[in-house]
Structures are given as C-alpha cells and as structure tokens.
Amino acid sequence: MSTHAAIEHGHAADEHIHPPSFYVKIWGILTVLFAISVAGPMLGIKLVTILTAFGIAIVKAYLVCAHFMHLNIQKRWVVYLELGVLAMVLLFWFGVAPDVMQHQGQNWENVAAKQAVERGMAAHGAAAAEHGAK
C-alpha cells in the first residue's frame, strides 16, 4: 500500500537524533532572550516593554515548539492543527472583545465597568501620588 510507504518515510523523518549540544545551544538562545525580556521593562518605555515582552515570548515559544517539541520535523498537519486551534482562540477574542473589552457601543454603555475603572484609577492614582511624594 502506498500509505504504508508514506508511514515508513514519515517515521524515518521523525527519528532524527540531534546531539545534546544542539539542545544546549537552543537553551542558551532562550536564556539570552529571556534576559532581554526581563531587561526590557527596565527602560521604562511602554512600547519597548510590550515589544520585548510579547515579541520575545513568541520567539521563545517558537524555539521551544520547533526544536524541543520537534514540531519542525513533525508531520506538517500537526503544525496546522495546533495553529488552527490557536486561530479559534483568536476568533473567540475578536468575537467577544467588542462586547467585553469595549465599555461602550451602539446604544449601550457598560456603566459599571467604567465606574470600576474610574474608582480603580482614582484609588491607585492617590496611592501613586503618595508614593511619589515619599
């Protein structure tokens, strides 16, 4: 059967063995990236923080998935499966955010959430001002 030939072939591709040093190298890159992501916020620039924190998280996740989980030598559809599932999470986000992230929309207003934001900002603002004065 042709499917069986494909299976054997697939197996051979999965069973690729890297030397331990390869994994240590990946770990080294991960550690450096991690250091940057911790250092980023210390600059105190919001945009840099977001970029270093989440950009690097994505790169790190990619490295772990590709080289530690071996998704790079896995069957293609496995990657598509995981990405497809992730796409459903994004779909959920975009379907829900207009109602939950926004506190106001056409003919409606989330008064309670706005009040919670104001209350929180005021309380913490006062606290922060106090903190700054010290």
Binding site: N107, W108, V111, A112
Partner: protein
Amino acid sequence: MISHAVDQVSTFAKDIDVLILLICGLVGFWFFVAEGVLFFLVFKYRAKEGGKAAYIDGTDPKHTRFISWPHRLILLCDVVIVVAAVRVWVEVKQTMPTPDQTVRVVSQQWSWSFQHPGPDNKLDTADDIKTLDELHVVAGQTVQFELVSQDVIHSFSVPVFRLKQDAIPGRVIKGWFKTTQTGSYDIQCAEICGIGHGAMVGTIVIEQPERYAEWVAGHAPVAALATPAPK
C-alpha cells in the same frame, strides 16, 4: 399570522411580521419541496421483488445538478432573508429616532419599576414619576427607554411591540418604540431570573395625550411616595 393573536402596537411590529411571513414563505417552500421529494422517493423506490438498485456514486453532473441547482436557489433565498432581516434589525435596534419622551426601565427580582420623565419631560429631575409594574406612555409618541437591571439578567419583552431586549446588570441599554394605538398590554420578563421569573409581569398602558396628562397631573408630586425604593 401572529397579528391574529397578538396585536401590532408599535410601528415596527408590522415590519417584523412581514419579515416573518417572508421567511415563512421561503423556508416553507423548501420544506414542502424537500418533504415531498422525500416521501415521493420512499414510495417510488420501495423494495420490489427481484428489483435491483441503481449504482450511482453522485459525482456525475447529470445527477449532481439535482442538488446543485436547488443549492444555488437556497443561497439566493439566504441573501434575500439576510437583507430583509438586517433591514428590520437596523430599524429596531440600530437607529434611534428623536424621542418625544424618555423613560427608564429598571428590572429587579422580580418586578419592573419605571421612571417617567414627569411634567417637564426630562429624566432625573425632581418631578419624575416612579411606578412599580406599570409603564404609562402616550399613543403615537416615540419613546426611548433606558434599560437597566439591579441584580441579574432580565429581559424587557413586549410581545405586542415585537420588542425584546435583555437588561444586563451594570449596563445601560437604550432602545425605542413608537406606539400606534391605545390599550394596556403585558410586559414580560423573557430571561430566567430566579424563582419569581414566572410571575415577573408588568403592564404598559398606552393612552391618549389627554388621559396621559391627567395621569401625570394626578401622580407627579406624590408619586414618589408610592415607589418602593428598590436600592
């Protein structure tokens, strides 16, 4: 069909009924065609002594056209329904005509309370009329309502208006209706809200301007006392 049993009392009630009739016609057609074909085929191709079934895999265009053509027609029907439904939706939920009057509808377990603007026709002033379970509006006027909830989710449903909107605690949701005749009708809670849900009923009283003015005059100063203050 619906107006037979439930009056059309708002301006958009008719539009919703027409939409329902349109959908009824379109899907009814397909329903009866499909059922008809189904029963016809079951009858025509019932097992016969020594008969042999045809060997059809359903890839030949000669056969598939019996499916693909109805399919395109259904798509067309879908487009018609979407256009009609969205038009009605936009009219009822997305537009906001300039109101003659604004009222506040407050839902709580398990009653409705209403805040009428009073003689000055402005909400949140001293002469507001607060009532329990009874909403008074003027026939022919456009009324805007602000829907709020004190505790759990309720739903402001007035079948004669064909109007329904959930009240979400923490949110103010606005809507409108324009009445077309006088009468008094049910306001029902359409979202389960606890053990009293089955008894959460209010009345909407639609009156001629004179009667309404009388009611306002009779209730304005002292009405505040009649309110149970559900804080």
